[in-house]
């Protein structure tokens, strides 16, 4: 569906995208992952035909986005990051306009608009003026706009940005449903988003591809870096017990956690050794602490952030 090869985009001296190549096949839901400023939006804008590239080729559904732009655009439902909409129009008016612009025939137009509103979850605000809608609803109108002509390919730039957790869950549900019928490329800087809705991930940083893989591989990249346990009792004893397990490369003791008077509670942050499985290791650690007569208040695997993954990815790149 999408084929990007040696894509470069320069803004004056700034190189936003630097020799990026990747493919998206039919039926995939691909997460386009990267920290802020990695070149995600720029790449998606080039794919959508809004920006021209400096060099390299991009084809969408077999059409070159530079030389055959209109044909390429016909196959894309694009939702820009800021979700720009005309505030003076009502939701149905706007979607009918977009449908006509995208060449949905007059006979099918109102049906297409209704279906898109239903899928994106804005049917209950159909006659609201867009300027009066909340951010969450505007996001959904943008999604309905991308869907209205039933394009084979959807390109969504940070579809969950700025939403509250409930709305994020709603949008993810919608994305999973949409992914059954369309090929989707969505950008995000949130790892868990890729895990929850994508089949594959493309990771970029500073305009370059740093990793590409299935969702299992992403999960592996995302393995927990450390176990955090809170124990009541002798912190030194706890540290010794954990060290004896031979599962941790480093143990940091933090006794500064707020506690009730007279109690001695310590937080230990234990970094996993490379080969250790986090779930099994957690069980062993808790069992050992309890056996040593310490009271375990909590034990949780620390979630790795995108920054950790990037650190790991770029580090492994360097050693290769």
């Amino acid at each position: 569906m999408i084929s990007v090869s040696k894509l470069v985009k320069r803004y004056g001296d700034l190189v936003a995208v630097n020799g990026l190549s990747f493919e998206v096949g039919k039926g995939e839901i691909v997460g386009f992952l990267g920290p802020n400023g990695a070149g995600k939006s720029t790449t998606l804008r080039i794919l959508a035909g809004f920006l021209g590239q400096t060099s390299g080729t991009v084809t969408v559904c077999g059409h070159d986005v530079a030389s055959d732009s209109i044909e390429a655009r016909k196959n894309i439902g694009y939702m820009p990051e800021a979700v720009p909409l005309y505030p003076e129009m009502r939701v149905v008016e706007y979607l009918a306009f977009r449908a006509e612009l995208k060449r949905v025939s007059r006979a099918e137009r109102s049906k297409a608009v209704d279906a898109a509103m239903e899928k994106a979850g804005v049917a209950d605000r159909a006659t609201s003026v867009i300027g009066n809608l909340s951010k969450g609803y505007r996001q959904r109108v943008g999604l309905a706009d991308a869907l209205v002509a039933s394009p084979p390919l959807l390109i969504l730039d940070e579809p969950t940005a700025g939403l509250d957790p409930n709305q994020i869950r709603e949008v993810r549900k919608v994305l999973r449903a949409i992914g059954k019928e369309h090929t989707v490329l969505l950008s995000t800087h949130i790892l868990s988003e890729v895990e929850s809705s994508c089949t594959r991930a493309v990771v970029i940083a500073k305009g370059k591809l740093v990793a590409e893989g299935t969702i299992e591989e992403v999960r592996r990249m995302r393995r927990s870096p450390a176990l955090v346990v809170v124990v009541r009792g002798d912190a030194a004893k706890a540290e010794a017990t954990l060290a004896a397990l031979d599962a941790f490369s480093k143990i940091e003791v933090d006794a500064s956690v707020p506690r009730q008077e007279g109690e001695s509670v310590a937080t230990l942050r234990c970094s996993w050794k490379k080969k250790i499985d986090a779930t099994e290791g957690t069980e062993r650690a808790v069992a050992a602490l309890v056996a040593a007569g310490l009271a375990v208040r909590s034990a949780s695997a620390e979630q790795s952030t995108l920054e950790d993954v990037f650190a790991e990815l770029t580090a492994s790149k360097d050693t290769e």
Binding site: R45, A48, G49, F50, L51, G52, I70, E71, R73, K74, I76, Y78, P80, A82, P84, L85, Y86, P87, E88, M89, E93, F97, R98, E100, L101, K102, R103, D145
Partner: protein, 249 residues
Amino acid sequence: MRGFWPILKRELFAFWVTPLAWVLTCVFLVVQGLHFSVLVKNFSEMASIDSDQTPIQAFFGNTVLLYLVLFLLVPPMTMRLFAEERRAGTIESLMTAPVSAPAVVLAKYFAALVTYAAMWAPTILYVIILKRSGFVDWHVVGASYLGVLLVGAGYLALGLLMSALTKSQFIALVLTALVLLVLFILGIGEFVTRDGTMIHDVCAYVSVWGQMNDFASGVVDSRRIVLDATLVVLPLFVTTRVVDSWRVA
């Protein structure tokens, strides 16, 4: 011409659903109505018709009022056409739909032109009022409205170009007003330069004043039409190139 009709409809919607067009139409009709009533009063108080002008001629030609109205009307009409879309970011959804740059430019232009024509439409009542009380030369009426349309068409095209050059509606407004002012001052040059010099001829050629005097007397001069057509086609062409260039920037 992919996307021409839906964009034209949306632009007309944007003009007439927001108060913009209504406010401008109101101001326009108040000024023109006052102008007309003063004219009619003057003509009716003449003891004998010693003027070689008819009220229609006086309404459209030989008056700075028509120009003043255009100067007030055109910049606010065209300022938002591109500048607003670029500031709000809606240009991104617009240009990623399967539409061509010429279609976008022409649709926006014709929306402004149709709105402009709609503002003039009620003034036909004045002609009907005159007709009921006397003789009206329909050729002069036709030529006058053609002149008004042609001059407006050129000005709107210039305004559209200015709107494409900046993201700020205010700057687009100021730029358009400046360009129209320069054109008007060039036209005035006809009266301050010596007869027979080239600068005099150029000034006389671009003079809106001269054009409206001609058209209001029923003289449809093809040279004037060529000038107006140039003022439409050239800015529209440049605007199309500007819109295309956004993809590269």
